[in-house]
Symmetry: C2
Subunit: 502 residues, 2 copies
Amino acid sequence: MNEISTRIRNKKLQAKVISAEEAVSFIQPGMNIGTSGFTPSGYPKVIPLALAQKIQQEKFKVNLWTGASVGKELDGVLAEVDGIAKRLPYQTNNAIRQAINNGQIQYTDLHLSHVAQMSRCGFLGGKVDIAIVEACAITEEGHIVPTTSVGNAASFVQSADKVIIELNVVQPLELEGMHDIFTPNEPPHRQPLLLTNVADRIGVPYIPCQVDKIAGIVISSIPDDVRPLAAVDDDAKAMTGHLIDFLQGEVKAGRLPANLLPLQSGVGSVANAVITGLVHSDFSGLTVYTEVIQDGMLDLIDAGKLLFASGTALTPSPAGLKRFYETIARYKSKIVLRPQEISNSPEIARRLGVIAMNTAIEFDIYGHVNSTHVMGSKIMNGIGGSGDFARNGYLTFFFSSSVAKGGAISCVVPMCAHIDHTEHDVDVFITEQGVADIRGLSPKERARKIINNCAHPDYRVQLLDYLKRAEEATGFAHTPHLLSEALSWHERFVRTGTMQVS
Amino acid sequence: MNEISTRIRNKKLQAKVISAEEAVSFIQPGMNIGTSGFTPSGYPKVIPLALAQKIQQEKFKVNLWTGASVGKELDGVLAEVDGIAKRLPYQTNNAIRQAINNGQIQYTDLHLSHVAQMSRCGFLGGKVDIAIVEACAITEEGHIVPTTSVGNAASFVQSADKVIIELNVVQPLELEGMHDIFTPNEPPHRQPLLLTNVADRIGVPYIPCQVDKIAGIVISSIPDDVRPLAAVDDDAKAMTGHLIDFLQGEVKAGRLPANLLPLQSGVGSVANAVITGLVHSDFSGLTVYTEVIQDGMLDLIDAGKLLFASGTALTPSPAGLKRFYETIARYKSKIVLRPQEISNSPEIARRLGVIAMNTAIEFDIYGHVNSTHVMGSKIMNGIGGSGDFARNGYLTFFFSSSVAKGGAISCVVPMCAHIDHTEHDVDVFITEQGVADIRGLSPKERARKIINNCAHPDYRVQLLDYLKRAEEATGFAHTPHLLSEALSWHERFVRTGTMQVS
């Protein structure tokens, strides 16, 4: 049996192998294209590259729905040819970000757990017209074995009239069996998600698909465009230390079990540093229930400290991915990839009691968090899954350095210029300066703790001064604000390049 | 058998009947007092009245934890004697509100589904010291049969060292059997909540309590201080009409079943008007999964249009309560009262697919909602359960009149001065002006729809002008804002008494 027949196990489907150019002939202007992919993992590559060429010649746009951010061969090339009308639900690509912030692309920034249901139920402007899914194999029945991510692929396949599969022969066949695919019924026919342990399986190891829906199969050999992690800097080290101390205190106080509760951690270098930090801690018997499995979790498995990790995407650094591919058998029994509707499910996050750890762009003295916007107007990436976990976690942390841009920006401000998580959703803030445990506190109590424990010393006096004057001006109201000054720190930065008063 | 022995079915406990004055002798300064009560229903009355007298003499404070707001015999009298140090998780009483907004009381405004777990796990500053629970009966085993609400009573009883029961003989014994009490285990031992239909029962009809924990029983005959509903005004009528049209459109489009999905509705006159409006619609076979059961739901039952209502409190108007008491048998098989951890559970709201309908103080052109603060600093009531339902509902509505204070305040503003629900959490806004369905839209698309469909005509030009200038100033950024003007409408109101430009 050759490579292709090993991977396409249905004879009829073997005859459906087509070129990327043929595949994109199915795509019409204005269509809703739903793809696999979550972070630069498991997204289609050769078809979007061909689509970009077609768009460059024929000048049209499509709507692009994915799991989250995807690699440059999808988001990057389509943005560069101005081929996207609407993009959802998350992005991290420079070209897309620029096009969103100049009005070229309309972007809908959604909770990642919400997208599958909204897309199936026709809440996002029609349904998916064509689903494009990266696969490492197709079963005899036409079912699709995903690769390094699941995202919304199962729901997009279910809704779409046509499915195009990008069969990626550089994604190892050993990935088969790592997925657990379950798509809930819509209300009023929905049943409980019977998952009570991070390692539980409630579905099947493939994306169910009728053979007849598959319009074509395109062979790909482009690897995931995973990115190297930034070096762990001093701030990340300090935050990790604070976190570990805090968690130890919670265990001691009887508010957490000795092996903690399932860990969720956002994507990126700080998040990875925090997880890596646990390798050198005394914690063991850990579990992970998160979106994205990064290098730190592989380190924890290697160190014998992580029993099991559940996610929707496997996105290590290039070195981490190499390590994973080389010793896949070692990791396979300890990792499962699920649809993001399940990995980010409020129902499960709350039941398991996840420890939610996400990063903020800024937070304010009363505990509101900005995860998405720079100076109020420009989007950075999006809310991602942070809201799914922060709202429902047993214990919710937000991390940030206390300052950015060499001290010109205070990440602790009087009022966030955009709010993605409210005062009702956060338990603990951690910066390199320290920890503010705001559980059970009133806004004015929170403010003093956040300023004194988390703000940079260069901004503390200024923040305390704002608080004091706001208290006096409002007669010690519940959440004292000076409306004319609340956003003045951001204004000052835009005007002068620093939040510091000269 | 006399009244008392019918209601106190354990002989040993019959000897524990004490006076309210004796009961409050257990209460020490600084204690965390957890009470029953959710809205002015089912809260203790004679014990807090006695506590207020003791506090007036001895000058001390306690922390008061309840289900939500409670009646004047608890919140009002304790605030008036300055007896509350910390109050959580919700309030609507004038005296409390004033004390919160002058710094006298520290108030922690929490999602109502979060409180029980946070209190059991010691996240709110210690645990409940004494639970005070209104009951209509105590079983042979010492279990407590609640009255017109459940709230957090079951969790407070579970955590507390001591329980004091206020046996209210004017609460009809026929309430027995209307409750379904279930308290989940803490993670990692939590199991799925196996409730798939609004009428399902997963618990027991009483609050489990060990006989030995009961420190005393005080007899009460003070009725719930329920309040009359305001007359349904023209705005509420118009909003109800818009809602019914919109729901009919969704059914026609195949996005909702003909009998809709379980309805959740906030508390108050607008919410009640909306529910009452359904009585005169063509919808039937309806169900309710909400916090508070108000008059409108009794009307729907009477009209044969409501199959079943699940809530955590039964709070009709005085006339509605009289009707309920008089014909309790008619309603009893169609109503269940649950702990608020279950009535407001994200897991269940999402599974059932509730239609979430809540009122806003204001919302902004990009879809953020302020549910709690007046002009940014002063708290009105609190977030209540709106976040539990809005985030997790199948379809999420927020209602508001387009203007307040005779037109001096626009309830649609450039930027909310406080944010409780973010742009990621709302599907549809309704004012008396019309409907803005913002599902799947980008912020700039939302802005035009919200301004044109929902803002008052007197403010539309001003809002469109803000949007246009913000777009130009930011180069059509994702969420265009003019930082120096974003809160200027609120500033202007504080300064001049109106948001209108003179």
